[in-house]
């Protein structure tokens, strides 16, 4: 089981500590004023609340674990209420890596993994090291390609090729809208690539990994060089 980048603990502890301290020092005086207590009480409570908030932030980091297995992406989170989630890689629609200016300074990134289910992002990893984000994105893409390779060998070629082309087109469109950078041109070739290599792959029956193209049969972002362009300045 892996943990998020240690910077997460610092960031969450600070932001939750400040939030809790702020609430305690601004809301409690209203209550305390009614009780006619001294001025030192809210200050003391503020410090206690800040420490509790910081502790909770740290615990939320400690209790967030994830792991990329051969078939699934597993996730465990929650301090008081626990959730343990398994996402079959075949169901992953999109892996998004984002870096704000602040995150670039510390060489960390936010990874979001989405499926077609639910209303919100299924897995948000905030933050992981850039190298780890890269490993996850590639890992999911490669494993998906291997899984799709299995499928292609087993099922009819036509349906699969059309389907992957469609998926790719959706992804490429999303990318362009968001990044609108030089890579949109690269992404736009996605559908063509997928169709071409997909049909080639369908005829190859020599094993799960051998004939699987890295980019084609997945719904994963095709942003190989996401780090070298776009948000990086």
């Amino acid at each position: 089981m892996r943990r998020l980048h240690p910077l997460t603990a610092v960031s969450r502890a600070i932001s939750l500590g400040i939030a809790a301290g702020f609430v305690a020092t601004t809301l409690l005086p209203v209550v305390v004023a009614q009780l006619d207590a001294s001025i030192t009480l809210p200050a003391f409570l503020g410090v206690v609340a800040a420490l509790l908030g910081a502790g909770y932030g740290y615990l939320s980091y400690r209790r967030f674990t994830y792991e990329l297995t051969d078939e699934t992406f597993d996730l465990g989170k929650g301090v008081l209420a626990r959730t343990e989630r398994e996402i079959p890689l075949g169901r992953v629609q999109n892996v998004d890596v984002q870096q704000s200016l602040f995150q670039q300074l510390f060489d960390v990134a936010v990874v979001r993994i989405e499926t077609a289910g639910g209303g919100s992002t299924e897995a948000t990893l905030s933050y992981v090291a850039v190298s780890e984000a890269d490993r996850l994105q590639r890992g999911i893409r490669d494993r998906r390609a291997a899984l799709a390779g299995d499928d292609d060998a087993a099922t009819a070629a036509g349906a699969t090729t059309v389907e992957t082309g469609g998926e790719q087109a959706v992804d490429a469109g999303g990318e362009q809208a968001v990044d609108a950078g030089p890579e949109s041109a690269v992404d736009a070739t996605g559908p063509t690539d997928a169709t071409a290599t997909g049909s080639t792959d369908a005829t190859a029956t020599d094993g799960p990994d051998a004939g699987a193209p890295p980019d084609a049969t997945t719904g994963v972002d095709v942003r190989c060089g996401w780090r070298s362009n776009a948000t990086r300045t």
Binding site: E71, T72, L80, A81, R82, T83, E84, R85, E86, I87, P88, G90, R91, T115, A116, G117, G118, G119, E122, L147, D150, D151, T155, A159, T160, E163, E167
Partner: protein, 154 residues
């Protein structure tokens, strides 16, 4: 067909008590705005009524709950007043959670939540499982979902 763990009745009964307390609290507050004679007995009576109904519902619901892992779908049957039977094809399962809220953890229970494509907010959950059973059920569902790789994926 599998049934839930007996302790889930405690959980549902507790939830019914909380609901009864909230309703009684609101009603009690309302008596200050609209004064009625014998407010306290009325509010206590209301609390008792809602609590008894809620607890009876919890026990009946436990008796009615069934689920089963069928060949191609997760099958659920539940409901006291309105009977609901749900079949979730494994092909449509997106991902699987086990969730434990503080009350679950107190009672040693766990809930398995199955997310399907396109059912926003109507995700299927199986409550009242032991921690061990929830884990095995999640793993079984994950296996079945991986094996049922869709040919016409969403």
């Amino acid at each position: 067909m599998e049934v839930l763990h007996e302790r889930v009745r405690l959980q549902w009964a507790f939830r019914a008590l909380v609901l009864a307390a909230v309703i009684a609290g609101v009603a009690f507050g309302a008596t200050f705005v609209v004064p009625i004679p014998r407010a306290v007995p009325v509010v206590v009576g209301l609390f008792t009524l809602v609590a008894v109904l809620g607890i009876a519902h919890a026990f009946a619901l436990y008796r009615d709950w069934r689920f089963d892992l069928e060949a191609d779908a997760l099958y659920l049957e539940r409901g006291v007043v309105t009977r609901v039977e749900t079949a979730v094809p494994y092909v449509r399962v997106q991902h699987v959670d086990t969730q434990r809220n503080p009350l679950d953890r107190l009672l040693g229970l766990s809930t398995v939540v199955v997310y399907t494509a396109g059912s926003r907010g109507a995700d299927v959950s199986v409550p009242g499982l032991t921690v061990e059973r929830a884990r095995t059920l999640r793993n079984e569902l994950r296996e079945l979902a991986v094996d049922a790789e869709p040919e016409d994926a969403v």
